[in-house]
Amino acid sequence: MSIDADTIRHLSEVSVSVELQTEDMTLNIGPQHPSTHGVLRLVARVDGERAFDVQPVIGYMHRGYEKLAEVRTYPQITTIVNRIDWVAGYANEIPFITAAEKIMELEVPPRAQYIRLILTEMARICSHLVFMASYPLELGAASPLFFALRERERVLDLLEGVTGGRFHPNFNRIGGVKPAYGSGSMTRKWVQDLPAGFYRDTRAAMDRVLEVCDELDNLVAGNEIILARTKGVGVIPVDVAASYGLSGPNLRASGVPFDLRKMEHYLPYDELDWNVVTGTNGDCYDRWWCRLQEIRESAKMIQQAIDQVPEGPIQAKVPKVIKVPKGETYVRAENPKGEMGYYLVTDGGNGPYRVKIRSASFSNLSILPWALEGALIPDIIAIMGSLDFVLGDVDR
């Protein structure tokens, strides 16, 4: 007699429940739930507080950006890639624009590169501060939310001062950052360079960011309840993390110094003095701690970068209507959430032939069934929150 998998499962269930006949309950967590970061749905089989067979169901937020990109021109696409990972909209533009520039073999002026770097790191700080705000909230502590978001507002103000947009800056153009507006009399249209007082305000804001990191350290890091809830919870070993394609702080928390900013030279990160933050245990606490340290590193990076911003143009010489020659390339960059890559295929037209978006959250989320197997319901939330994904980044 052949024993199939269903029989084995059936037998094992009988053997463990001889004393008390219990019935499992299927619990739908989401798509509308306070802590699924949007419209993620988890289908879990729960036995009391313990959950088994947790399956994420995604796609509630699919907006078809890869397809939309095929019928849009290059400047229009930066508008929609802003909306992929909306807590760090600026950082999404960089790999896409770099990919197009790579096919065009275009040299970006150093000043534009530095402006890109500063704004990307600001986007990273914003994104990590949102995590700093939301993660304790998911564990039940409400106050760190306001401490983190207060500083994020300042950083967003700076982003807005330069780009004009808080969440969706749409500031990168092929060949540099947003240029002086077209032709014409230029009577009232502004040249889009850094506004006056930007350096001063940025220095002050970064000091405040470092200060609020200490405050968050006091509020959260030493808190015994937080430690009890996060230390040793949701441990992801290096090999598992790598096999699921985790990237960004989630992978670094497991102890792998994998940081594309050091490996891919898409922005002048080599000219700055900074460290890749790695954790040791790969648990929820380490993921939290890595992000806090990355905020500090980014703030220091910005402080160095604003001293080094070179003079010069912010835009390379490009034709008015941009046509990218035929070619294909894959460019990846270190987004706040992890590795974000664009596989860009062009056919010489106004817009790309095909864009494949590799978003970090999608891969990070794929580990959920493994990480949540046998977890308690509160730990489901703790582990899910610590992976820090954005549903717009998952479904695209």
């Binding site: 802590s35 909230l137 564990l139 502590a141 409400a142 509020l219 309840i225 009890a228 319901i377």
Partner: protein
């Protein structure tokens, strides 16, 4: 004053008056504490807090909220156990109201000075949890069910340390009457917290769990269970739970004040002033404890169910038991 005494001598008039006081005082206290929680938490987080309703400081915010709740539709889910669903908020409110019976507001100012006052108070405070369990079961919602069962588990775990730490005070006072306990502290000349610090801490932790406030708000646990047993409630039924929570915060604090902090008595205040100042002193002391509860709530995260249980069974219950034994030994020896 004479008129009042005359009126109070008639049983029925006295009953109606007392009912009126209860009907007024519980929503009032609920609203004051609710407003304090909103405003204080705002200040702790460098926010403005409610400011629009009523003009200055937004003092009418809670009244506006109450009006809003009454305007809402009274939704009952299709799968709900309708009678139980409807009764649950009333049971919770009844537990809250009944607790106010034995709070000694001042010398002689008490609704009913029962001989077994503290026993009654601890017993009746569990009624709230029964209402919570009813709400969780009757909602026909899985989150509510988990929330209700968590509340039941919490009640069983934390009732014991609550009772044990009160028992130590009862041993010291030699009476279970609430007025008796206060008078014992008056005659002893010091509040019992000086000798019962451990008991006080255990009592407050257990009271927090009993009230299901953060860090023990597992039955509600917004980020895990949506709103726990409250998920399906709306309108004035939700308002009942809401007011009961804040009124319960006050009554539990008042009991803690009575047991450990000398109740309505404050050293150095003459007896005739205490007649009038007693309630104010009690309210003042209780509000200090309420502030601490608000403060905890906005600082701490939530513990996990297993951590909650191990805290109760492994730490609080042994500690409070040892406290009872020690207190008994000292009482006999001294």
């Amino acid at each position: 004053m004479e008129l009042l005494t005359d009126l109070m001598s008639n049983f029925w008039i006295a009953l109606v008056l007392k009912l009126l006081v209860v009907a007024l005082i519980i929503p009032l206290i609920g609203m004051v504490i609710g407003f304090a929680e909103m405003k204080l938490s705002a200040k702790m987080q460098a926010r403005v807090g409610p400011y629009f309703a009523g003009g200055r400081w937004g003092w009418a915010q809670l009244i506006a909220d109450g009006v809003k709740f009454f305007q809402k539709e009274d939704l009952i889910p299709r799968d709900a156990d309708r009678p139980v669903f409807k009764v649950a908020p009333i049971v919770v409110m009844a537990g809250t109201v009944a607790l106010f019976v034995v709070i000694p507001w001042g010398p002689g100012v008490i609704f009913r000075d029962l001989d077994i006052g503290i026993f009654y108070a601890l017993a009746i405070s569990s009624l709230t949890t029964v209402g919570v369990l009813m709400a969780g079961w009757a909602s026909g919602n899985k989150y509510s069910l988990i929330g209700g069962l968590r509340a039941a588990g919490q009640l069983i775990a934390y009732e014991l340390p609550l009772v044990f730490s009160a028992v130590a005070v009862v041993i010291m006072a030699g009476t279970m009457s609430m007025q008796g306990i206060v008078e014992a502290q008056v005659s002893a000349g010091y509040p019992f917290v000086l000798l019962q610090l451990v008991g006080f801490v255990v009592f407050m932790i257990a009271a927090l769990a009993e009230l299901s406030r953060i860090p023990f708000d597992l039955p509600i646990a917004e980020s895990e269970l949506v709103m726990g047993y409250l998920t399906e409630y709306s309108g004035f039924r939700f308002l009942f739970f809401f007011l009961a929570e804040f009124a319960n915060m006050f009554s539990m604090s008042a009991i803690a004040v009575t047991l450990f902090l000398g109740g309505w008595h404050l050293p150095g205040i003459p007896a005739d002033v205490l007649e009038f100042a007693g309630p104010l002193i009690l309210i003042g002391k209780s509000f200090l404890l309420v502030f601490a509860m608000i403060w905890f709530r906005w600082t701490f995260p939530r513990v996990r169910q297993d951590q909650l249980q191990s805290l109760a069974w492994k730490w609080l219950i042994p500690i409070s038991l040892a406290n009872v034994i020690l207190t008994g030994v000292f009482k006999v020896v001294l």
